[in-house]
């Protein structure tokens, strides 16, 4: 157990602290920082998929007024990295269409763009493979998958369990390639002064960005400063710098004393910052006559890039969700000539819970029992993946409480049983889950300034999560003062070290460091400190992770309407009930959960990055053709929580809420669509043609 805060500020429904600044457009994002005479970078991107740059003719570009520099592989500084994504302009090799092959720096954006267009690049091309199955090299087993999980697991005898089962499911589920697409494009503003580098980087981790950039350029991290007080969304893609940051810092290094600015175009956001790869999951379930699971199997095949392997931990949720003595999972990669994928909100759980939770619904239908009853029947006593007890697991409560509030039992369970004005109406349910991570290596400073005010410092990031607000609430309770006595500073490597706003770990990781520093401050200085009294503290080790399985849970319910004649699909209602520990701020937490569910709706119905196999790139790389949920797509989406603190996790008793909202949403919608129509859609997105086949 951790020593819990006495909730006073935490748990209170207060407005977002940075809201007033943001509604005025006054929050300075990376590109908005005022600078003297900045320069603008524009890249030249490969127009072939695989091959080599045969020649670059930059003479026309260099002749333009205002052009300061043209960077190519022939004049680029040498980098000290073997990372295939970050080795920008280190060789003439082209590994995917849209790779950066040159860059122009000029005095205005218009000149930079015109000059980039005037750089003539010629190529020698080679044959390429851009879709799984088209690569003669076949599939590759990664050493491990993302977040350090084993690639494969095998417990008991799945094949025997399937052979002996009263009921089975053996189906393939496909999820589309999807792109994070934060509204703020990835942006880097870099300035070298003497031997010091200062970067304004749109980042979920200023310390992570510093570590990566210092490594790539062979610098002492102490001479690199990364600043980012406000981030215009990220959803994983801003977890670590990409090629655009490297080329901008490179250009700045060649133009010392000048600030170089680069914001990616929306098109580049589809190829230079990562994305969730397309994947197929074969799910096998085996069950006894009463629905008790005897076997669970998930085999994942996903696309990745030849130059940098990324293996999403898609089958990991299935290792833990339900009790079954026989379990087997695997991950395999097709390594292709495509852009490098990366984290996108709930990597692993988002696609994994679509497949597993749709398969569970299919099993419930075959057994002939309610899908909630089936899940309750297979609730494990201990974590099936590790054998450890759960620190807390309230999935069953979420299912029951959510069902009551949604009105689940109003439904006639038979598919295609309800019609309203030409629309087939159905209800669906799915479970949600996400690990409750807390990262090591976080520190904080608490300083008494004067007049009952405390400055609290930590190099955390707020990409819209509400950290500016929640961390101030935590600091207030840790110090025993009102929230408005706290002056919080985040988003700069000049502050104490902090880990990434990722893995839904931010509030737990940073909050624990703040609580530690605040308690140490009170121990040392009591209730009546002098101005400038200050304490620095490291967060204590996360001992709970050794002995317990740490996860959040939820249950999502969807009402879906599918038009009987056209197949159009609408989601008038989504409801989520979550086991999220103690909620620090109900207002911002609700936005996080509803936002996750909205992205889940978008994944379910809209998002599909279409590979043009002839040209070898995404055929729909903009927000007109790659549709993300717009206002009119979203009707009623509500989220609630049980509000049961988990006192083992951290002093707040909180679980992360940034990602769990997207897990299970697509399955709840697909299951509701099946209930509405009798058609089982196993390939996302769920578009109208899939009901009319």
């Amino acid at each position: 157990m951790t020593d819990q805060l006495t909730p006073n500020a935490i748990g209170r429904d207060v407005a977002r602290a940075d809201g007033p600044l943001k509604v005025l457009g006054a929050a300075p994002y990376a590109y908005d920082q005022p600078l003297t005479d900045p320069l603008y970078l524009c890249t030249v991107d490969a127009t072939v998929v695989r091959g080599r740059v045969a020649g670059v003719d930059a003479s026309a570009a260099l002749a333009m007024d205002g052009v300061e520099l043209v960077l190519t592989h022939e004049n680029a500084p040498e980098l000290s990295t073997e990372d295939g994504e970050l080795r920008v302009l280190q060789s003439p090799e082209v590994h995917f269409r849209g790779q950066v092959v040159a860059a122009v720096v000029a005095t205005t954006t218009e000149v930079a763009a015109a000059a980039a267009g005037a750089v003539v690049v010629t190529y020698d091309t080679e044959p390429f493979a851009v879709t799984a199955g088209s690569d003669p090299a076949g599939l590759h087993a990664p050493e491990k998958v993302n977040a350090g999980y084993p690639t494969d697991t095998d417990d008991g005898d799945l094949d025997a369990a399937v052979a002996a089962a009263a009921f089975t499911v053996d189906e393939e589920y496909t999820t589309a390639r999807t792109h994070n697409n934060p509204l703020e494009p990835h942006t880097t503003v870099a300035t070298w002064t003497g031997g010091d580098l200062h970067v304004f980087e749109a980042s979920q981790s200023v310390f992570g960005a510093r570590r990566v950039l210092a490594g790539v350029f062979g610098l002492d991290p102490e001479r690199v400063r990364v600043t980012c007080p406000y981030v215009g969304g990220g959803f994983g893609s801003k977890g670590s710098p990409h090629a655009g940051a490297v080329v901008t810092v490179m250009a700045a290094r060649m133009l010392p004393g000048r600030s170089v600015k680069f914001a990616l175009t929306r098109r580049q956001m589809f190829r230079l910052v990562g994305y969730r790869p397309r994947m197929t999951q074969r799910v096998r379930l085996a069950a006894a006559p009463d629905g008790t699971l005897t076997g669970v199997g998930v085999d994942v095949v996903q696309e990745s890039a030849r130059i940098k392997e990324y293996a999403e931990q898609t089958a990991v949720a299935a290792r833990m969700m339900y009790a079954a003595p026989n379990r087997r999972t695997s991950h395999r990669l097709a390594l292709l000539d495509i852009p490098v994928p990366t984290w996108m909100r709930a990597p692993g759980e988002a696609p994994g819970m679509f497949a597993l939770e749709t398969a569970i619904d299919e099993l419930a239908a075959r057994v002939g029992i309610d899908p909630i009853a089936l899940r309750v029947r297979n609730e494990p006593e201990r974590d099936p993946a590790t054998g450890k007890p759960f620190s807390s697991r309230h999935l069953v409560d979420c299912l029951h409480e959510g069902a009551d509030r949604f009105g689940w039992y109003d439904r006639d369970p038979r598919p295609r049983s309800r019609r309203v004005n030409g629309w087939l109406v159905g209800y669906g349910v799915a479970a949600s889950t996400y690990p409750a991570y807390r990262m090591p290596a976080n520190s904080a400073v608490v300083r008494y300034t004067a007049d009952d005010r405390y400055r609290v410092e930590i190099g955390a990031s707020d990409l819209g999560t509400g950290a500016w607000t929640a961390l101030a609430q935590i600091a207030a309770d840790a110090l025993g003062v009102p929230q408005d006595s706290i002056d919080l500073a985040i988003g700069d490597t000049r502050l104490p070290r902090a880990t990434v706003a990722g893995g839904s770990s931010g509030t737990a990781s940073w909050g624990t460091a703040i609580v530690e520093a605040a308690r140490a401050f009170r121990d040392k200085f009591g209730r009546t400190p002098e101005p400038d009294d200050e304490v620095f503290a490291d967060a204590p080790e996360n001992t709970a992770a050794k002995d317990f399985a740490l996860h959040g849970y939820g249950a999502q319910f969807a009402e879906v309407r599918v038009h009987e004649d056209t197949g159009e699909i609408r989601v008038p209602r989504l409801y989520g009930m979550f086991d999220a520990g103690r909620v620090i701020n109900p207002r911002t937490a609700r936005s996080q959960l509803v936002g996750g569910m909205t992205m889940g709706l978008s994944m379910a119905l809209h998002e599909d990055s279409v590979m043009d196999t002839a040209l070898g790139h995404t055929a729909n790389p903009d927000l007109g053709e790659y549709h993300i949920a717009a206002n009119a797509d979203v009707h009623e989406i509500r989220a609630d929580w049980l509000g049961i603190p988990d006192e083992r996790l951290n002093p707040m008793g909180s679980k992360g809420i940034g990602e769990i909202g997207i897990t299970g949403t697509a399955a709840a919608i697909a299951n509701a669509a099946h209930h509405a129509t009798g058609v089982r859609v196993r390939e996302l997105p769920i578009t109208l043609d899939k009901f009319l086949r």
Partner: protein, 166 residues
């Protein structure tokens, strides 16, 4: 080619020399340092750059600055007056109609435009018959669908706009 133009931005006359290729958005952000409107796509597809030009909402990335010589431009920063933020802005904060905040300056400008359009009786694709439109959820959702929000703050945005329009 360059041109000298004057824009009245948030109540202040601003003279600026622009490349004739410069968009209104880039003129505001890169030439005048007015960074309230944001560049999310530069294609008129996301709405983050929405400003009011002579009172009507415009995606400033699709408008050439040279074609707006003499125009009155209001950004999110200029919606506030001596009494503080615009009621729409206050309602956005109260309803937590934002998360990362990057689309928000465009959302609030668009919302002010929507309220004026409904008040003036302009129909939308979801307005039924010839009756004057009312500020229903469906009307707000339809009219605000040119402003994307990746954080998914739409329910709060709709609530905020209806609150102000009520």
């Amino acid at each position: 080619m360059e041109a000298d133009i004057t824009l009245r931005v948030d109540g202040e006359d601003r003279k600026v020399t622009v490349d004739t290729r410069t968009t209104l958005l880039d003129a505001l952000r890169d030439r005048l340092g007015v960074t309230a409107p944001k560049k999310g796509c530069d294609h008129g597809q996301c709405g983050s750059c929405t400003v009011l030009v002579d009172g009507r909402r415009v995606v400033s990335c699709l408008s050439l600055a040279v074609a707006r010589d003499g125009a009155e431009v209001t950004t999110a920063a200029g919606l506030a007056d001596a009494d503080g933020p615009h009621p729409v802005q206050r309602a956005f904060v109260a309803n937590d109609a934002l998360q990362c905040g990057f689309c928000t300056p465009g959302q609030v400008c668009s919302a002010v435009g929507v309220l004026a359009e409904v008040k003036a009786g302009w129909p939308s694709a979801v307005t039924e018959g010839d009756a004057a439109p009312e500020l229903t959820d469906a009307e707000v959702r339809e009219r605000m669908s040119g402003n994307l929000c990746r954080c998914g703050a739409y329910p709060g945005i709709v609530a905020a706009i209806r609150e102000v329009g009520a």
